[in-house]
């Protein structure tokens, strides 16, 4: 019995939690306690697995006692353990934030109580996708998390969410169909869907057939990961969802796609056959994404475009596919999950404090709430890659890898990466200048909450002081706290975690380097699943 044998719990616990919270659907407080404690325990188990991962090596858990390649296996290696810990930490923070929002607004009696079970199912799906060593089980994992995300995306069923939800569901279903077709073709070509077994058997398949299978999988995962030109759906659908939902989607869902792409590239189809194509795709994703962000004035849409843009960095590392490039990509994925989620959470707070997420209608937030200013500033600079933040370290690793490779295309990619980093800084500076620095009086058509002040002119902490004819969304409601500690708390925690990535950069880079080495070797994975000597 070693720590990695606990792997099934990472999937089973959230499912059990979902069942219990579903039974408790009329008891908001109990529901909240169950879901938060479930995720906390899951996180603890995953931390134990991560600490044990470097020493115990790759480990496969055979479910139901069926021997691979016939049964389903869950595989714990350094990459999957790291992804599990980061994703659970992020989803726990978002859950506390969402619960805090519900408590502050007192609206937990509505249909929103479906949030907790659905959210836990989403987490279970994400964990399953990270752990599985079976291609069809990966499809099931994707479907679990996608179906949960459909419900979360259309929560409340308002017109804008239904409109965005339709696009999102159709695009996701099409990508899942492509994945399913790819699985069928792979099964037809090799007669197995166990990933370790495939890694051995695909080598003997005709190279042209291999290329078709490879590209089918990459297109299916490329849609999920929002890689240009398959990223069109993301900025359209993410921003309309509730703030915590957008935050967790932005952090986790695209990264599951990236994770699957990494596994395809390293385990199933190693070699550099399509690396040039990936490099071009990475470059376009970075540059087109960030240019899109420049044109936006809604912070949520703007962040959705930066999300697409920064997926390009991960594909960059994957396309270089040397040990240092892959290691930097792994580090970058961990960094980006945390930073992008915290930015979306802060945007939720901005929307609450300023009444809107449109930068043209905001102003003076840094003075109204210095804490909010700090909470936005730190992850924004982190995303742009200013030293000494983790965004800088990740990009530095990628650029080193690109220069080390030294081909002309790699240098173009390095230049594109640097330009994207600078443009990200420009985008963040625009938000900062408008929403935080200028006087609220300069804002165009500001929300009443932004201009509201107490009798002595100090800024307000609740919606009680919003007076006048147009009190908008506060009309006829009890006053609510604008920035309750239950919402700022998890945001502070997540921003601090983003800063901790800098402090812990040494051990983390060792870990991601080890993960990259394991993936490039392939042997540990194959032997863990099929037994020693199977890949000969």
């Amino acid at each position: 019995m070693i720590a990695a044998d606990l792997a099934p719990l990472a999937v089973v616990l959230p499912f059990l939690g979902a069942a219990v919270t579903f039974i408790l659907i009329r008891h908001a407080r109990a529901q909240r306690a169950v879901s938060i404690s479930t995720l906390s325990v899951t996180l603890l188990i995953e931390v134990v697995m991560l600490i044990a991962a470097p020493s115990s090596g790759t480990h496969a858990v055979k479910l139901g006692g069926w021997e691979p390649p016939f049964g389903i296996v869950l595989v714990v290696d350094q990459f999957s353990a790291l992804m599990l810990v980061v994703s659970s930490a992020v989803s726990l923070s978002v859950l506390i934030y969402a619960a805090g929002q519900g408590m502050a607004d007192g609206d937990e009696d509505g249909p929103v109580s479906i949030f907790h079970p659905t959210y836990l199912i989403l987490v279970a799906g994400v964990s399953n996708a990270f752990l599985t060593g079976d291609l069809f089980n990966l499809y099931v994992g994707f479907e679990i998390l996608l179906t949960a995300s459909y419900v979360l995306m259309t929560l409340g069923g308002t017109a804008p969410r239904i409109r965005a939800g339709v696009t999102y569901v159709v695009v996701s279903v099409v990508s899942s169909m492509l994945f399913l077709i790819a699985i069928a073709m792979i099964y037809g070509a090799t007669g197995t869907i166990n990933m370790a077994d495939l890694a051995v058997k695909l080598e003997s398949v005709d190279p042209a057939t291999q290329l078709v299978l490879h590209l089918m999988l990459l297109v299916a995962f490329g849609i999920k990961a929002a890689v240009f030109p398959l990223s069109f759906w993301l900025p359209d659908s993410y921003p309309t969802a509730p703030a915590p939902v957008t935050a967790v989607f932005a952090g986790l869902l695209t990264k599951v796609g990236v994770y699957a792409m990494v596994r395809v590239e390293t385990l199933l189809f190693p070699g550099d056959r399509i690396n040039s194509l990936l490099m071009v795709v990475a470059l376009l994703t970075m540059v087109v994404g960030i240019l899109g962000a420049l044109a936006q004035s809604d912070i949520k849409r703007l962040l959705s475009f930066t999300l697409v843009s920064h997926i390009g960095y991960m594909v960059f590392g994957l396309a270089i596919s040397t040990r240092i490039g892959l290691g930097a990509a792994v580090y970058y994925v961990a960094h980006h999950i945390i930073v992008q989620t915290s930015l979306f959470l802060v945007t939720g707070l901005i929307e609450r404090r300023g009444g809107t997420a449109n930068v043209d209608r905001l102003g003076g937030l840094a003075k109204l709430s210095p804490l909010l200013g700090l909470l936005f500033f730190l992850p924004a600079m982190n995303l742009a890659g200013i030293p000494p933040f983790s965004g800088f370290l990740g990009k530095l690793g990628l650029i080193q890898a690109g220069v080390e490779l030294g081909t002309p295309l790699a240098y173009v990619l390095v230049a594109g990466g640097v330009a994207t980093s600078l443009l990200t800084l420009l985008v963040m500076a625009r938000v900062w200048n408008r929403a935080f620095w200028r006087s609220p009086a300069d804002a165009e058509d500001p929300d009443p909450i932004l201009l509201a002040s107490k009798a002595d002119g100090s800024s307000v902490g609740t919606s009680r002081h919003v007076t006048g004819e147009d009190t908008g969304r506060f009309a006829g409601k009890d006053p609510v706290r604008l920035l309750p500690a239950s919402m700022t708390g998890p945001t502070i925690g997540l921003v601090a975690l983003g800063l901790a990535l800098t402090v812990l950069a040494g051990p983390l880079f060792t870990l991601s380097d080890g993960a990259a080495q394991e993936m490039l070797d392939r042997t540990p994975y194959i032997e863990a699943v099929l037994g020693a000597g199977a890949d000969r």
């Binding site: 069809f136 017109a159 696009t167 279903v173 077709i181 069928a184 936006q296 200028r438």
Partner: protein, 159 residues
């Protein structure tokens, strides 16, 4: 591996009709397209199991190659359940979209249209910088002078 030609032709027809329907703007047709695509994919999985054989129950003395490959059927069963759930959900949101008074159509993103239509001139980014930007102006009331200049700069903008 031998493949059943009927299955392949059927699959091709499903995919062709499915993709055609998917390209329509009516949501109901899009949903029908997705259902056809799902069934096409299921038939493809079925085709990979090769020619049929004995049911996969253990009978002593039967050589392994005489059994039907049962794995694709297990995969199809899972895929059918998933497609069923997603179809039900799609029907739900299409109905909701209709209740909300929308047409049975894919809607444009209003924010996207707004961004596309906006002027390339941006007051904050593109306005001329007023000549005197110092905060230590020699005018008698610097804050008033600054505010005047600021207002003048704003009205000049072709907004």
């Amino acid at each position: 591996m031998t493949v059943n030609i009927t299955l392949i032709v059927l699959m091709a027809a499903f995919f062709a009709a499915g993709i055609y329907l998917l390209l329509e703007r009516s949501l109901t047709r899009v949903l029908l397209g997705l259902i056809l695509l799902g069934n096409g994919a299921n038939i493809l999985i079925l085709a990979t199991s090769g020619p049929g054989g004995t049911s996969p129950l253990y009978i002593a003395g039967t050589p392994p190659e005489e059994y039907t490959d049962s794995l694709p059927q297990a995969l199809i069963l899972t895929a059918i359940v998933i497609t069923f759930a997603v179809t039900a959900f799609m029907l739900g949101i299409i109905y909701r979209s209709w209740v909300l008074g929308r047409e049975d159509d894919v809607q444009d993103d209003p924010e996207d249209r707004r961004v596309a239509d906006q002027d390339s001139y941006d007051y904050e980014d593109d306005a001329d910088i007023i000549a005197d930007t110092t905060e230590f102006s020699e005018a008698e009331d610097p804050s008033a002078a600054d505010a005047d200049a600021d207002r003048a700069g704003r009205t000049e903008g072709p907004r």
